[in-house]
């Protein structure tokens, strides 16, 4: 049997714009060459190919849009694919597969409050959820956003954060682990922001994404506030290679991060020794 279809074949997309977010992180805006929207949901990821160099998974950082076919990825320079992406000039092409994986169940959150806890690059996928909510602001209740970064130099989306901080329909708090001379905000790990917020644990859902070490502490704080486990959502990072639940690389105990994740309800992973 010869088949013309293979899930391994990427489609092409073109780099529309590029914006440096800090020394290592750049925001890329791509347009699908098919002219169709990406049709992703907040929290999903895509596989990005730079032919000759390789393929790597990235969370989509923009909210889903039906009005145009562009989407955004924020990428930190760490390996060969990310380096190659940084070297692209506007007009260059990439290959994409996906979107893949689980997502934040937005319908479930309608009418409810939301607490975002973003550590470092964790803000990249959170941004997709947050901006979806801001675009449908009247469907959701109180929104709180906590953003933690190692130091002021590593902050990303600073302009956008400054802008949404001005809005009176959400609360934004930021912190850095180690300040520099110019930093006037909160200093300390992200959990030091928890005493400063007021949320209703009865109606609040949490989305937390950050480095592996962060989750345990954030979840502890949430529990202290009285938020039940089934309303805490995390997105876990693994090295998805196939994105189809086959290659095994992203396995967390018996789950495939590419199919069952990357977005998990905490109750589904609380008992797994390899999750956090």
């Amino acid at each position: 049997m010869k088949s013309d279809f293979s899930p391994y074949v990427p489609r092409s997309a073109t780099l529309v714009s590029k914006q440096e977010l800090n020394e290592l992180v750049t925001l890329f805006e791509f347009a699908q060459d098919s002219g169709k929207p990406l049709a992703h949901r907040p929290g999903q990821f895509i596989q990005v190919s730079v032919y000759g160099v390789g393929e790597a998974p990235f969370s989509v950082s923009s909210p889903p849009r039906t009005d145009h076919n562009n989407f955004e990825l924020a990428v930190r320079r760490t390996g060969s694919v990310t380096n190659a992406l940084h070297a692209l000039e506007v007009g260059a092409k990439i290959g994409i597969r996906g979107p893949y994986g689980s997502y934040f169940p937005m319908q479930k959150f309608v009418g409810q409050d939301f607490l975002f806890v973003a550590g470092g690059l964790g803000y990249i996928p959170i941004r997709s959820v947050l901006h979806y909510m801001l675009r449908h602001r009247d469907e959701f209740g109180h929104i709180t956003l906590l953003v933690g970064t190692r130091n002021p130099k590593e902050r990303i989306f600073t302009d956008q954060l400054a802008e949404i901080s001005k809005r009176n329909d959400l609360e934004v708090l930021e912190t850095v682990d180690t300040p520099d001379h110019g930093w006037k905000g909160n200093v300390g790990v992200i959990t030091t922001l928890f005493p400063k917020i007021s949320i209703n644990p009865e109606t609040t859902n949490v989305a937390t994404i950050g480095p592996p070490v962060m989750y345990r502490f954030v979840i502890q704080e949430c529990s202290k506030l009285g938020i039940p486990q089934n309303r805490i959502f995390v997105s876990l990072e693994r090295r998805m290679k196939c994105g189809l639940g086959k290659c095994g690389h992203c396995q967390i105990n018996g789950l495939n991060c590419c199919l069952d994740g990357p977005v998990f309800c905490y109750t589904d992973i609380a008992g797994l020794g390899e999750a956090l």
Partner: protein
């Protein structure tokens, strides 16, 4: 059940006919005590009485390296590659058929793997009732001594010169009749095949799990947090992946690519990988979710003993004993590991 009786002298003629249509692989002795499936030709002596073929048969359906796409770096386009030569695996033991059945299901699940399926569709499997049991095998206690699907024909040697051939598919039956009508088996021949099965079963019972296989998931799950046990077991683990690579039910792979010398086109391919290898669970930036050999070691037993069970309702280990042989450190014996866990906690569960 439809079954025919085929006599040894008939087989060469059949093989010659089949060989016109497809590549045939048969078990043969490659070195004293070592058997492998090799391409058949007139000169090859089929090892009807082999105990275990040294490497796994998955290589015929999931090759060690396989192109999955070709890409064009200038046009930025890509096209699928599916290669699927017509082939016959003649002489596959039931535990190995079970392993392929399992791969069939896993590759079909969620998002069907087109490369695997194309090869599988073009692969004909003739099962063979074993007459010897490998020293390291324990398939009888892994529910793998008999399969009721996954073969086109199933051959049982009922006398030095005759085989009882059970039909598993129309395609298999057609192949059997390619040279004209063949003898339908009678009751005596069927009974002889049943006895042959019981005989080998008795031999296989020498090495077994000390408990019913279906309790394995519960056992390993209970032992997941026993770090001392896993650490101790994995102390001499070389992280060489041999146990993964010879395993007929392991199917993990890595994806890589290479551009051509003019840097205009290229190919992306997949190749066998293993969860025992150090970098398997590493993410960009270097964090490794199973950094220690014992964590990787544990993962393998969890996967064989529980995770696959959770998906399919059967264990991911079919008891062929290949890993037991392949592990130079002598620590990759699922039967031993599971039995030890059983001994340690049988009174608690």
């Amino acid at each position: 059940m439809i079954a025919y009786t085929i006599y040894l002298p008939q087989i060469k003629g059949l093989l010659k006919k089949w060989a016109l249509e497809l590549n045939i692989y048969v078990p043969t002795m490659v070195e004293k005590g070592f058997f492998e499936f090799r391409p058949w030709n007139d000169q090859v002596e089929i090892a009807w009485d082999y105990d275990l073929c040294y490497t796994t048969l998955k290589k015929f359906i999931l090759p060690p390296r396989e192109n999955i796409i070709f890409f064009d770096m200038k046009k930025y386009s890509a096209s699928p590659v599916t290669e699927a030569p017509k082939q016959l695996l003649f002489g596959v033991h039931p535990y190995d058929i079970k392993a392929i059945n399992q791969l069939d299901q896993l590759m079909e699940m969620d998002s069907p793997d087109v490369n695997y399926q194309a090869r599988r569709d073009n692969t004909i499997i003739f099962g063979l009732e074993p007459v010897h049991v490998a020293e390291t095998a324990f398939w009888s206690s892994m529910n793998a001594s008999k399969v009721d699907l996954g073969y086109d024909l199933y051959w049982t040697r009922i006398s030095p010169g005759a085989f009882f051939v059970q039909v598993g598919s129309a395609r298999g039956e057609e192949m059997l009749k390619v040279e004209g009508p063949v003898e339908k088996s009678n009751f005596t021949q069927k009974e002889a095949a049943r006895r042959a099965h019981l005989k080998i079963l008795a031999e296989a019972e020498k090495q077994t799990l000390k408990f019913d296989w279906s309790r394995t998931p519960e056992l390993v799950n209970k032992f997941f947090n026993n770090r001392t046990f896993w650490r101790e077991k994995a102390k001499t683990c070389l992280s060489c992946g041999s146990c993964n690579l010879v395993c007929p039910t392991c199917y993990c792979f890595d994806i890589q690519e290479e551009a051509d010398d003019l840097l205009q086109k290229g190919r992306r391919y997949r190749q066998w990988d293993g969860c025992m290898l150090r970098g398997f669970a590493e993410i960009a930036g270097g964090h490794n979710f199973r950094d220690n050999a014992w964590e990787r070691y544990r993962h393998r037993y969890m996967r064989k003993g529980k995770y696959i069970f959770d998906k399919l309702g059967e264990l991911g280990c079919i008891g062929c004993g290949r890993c037991v042989k392949a592990c130079t450190a002598g620590i990759a014996n699922p039967r031993k590991v599971y039995n030890e866990i059983w001994e340690a906690i049988k009174n608690e569960i």
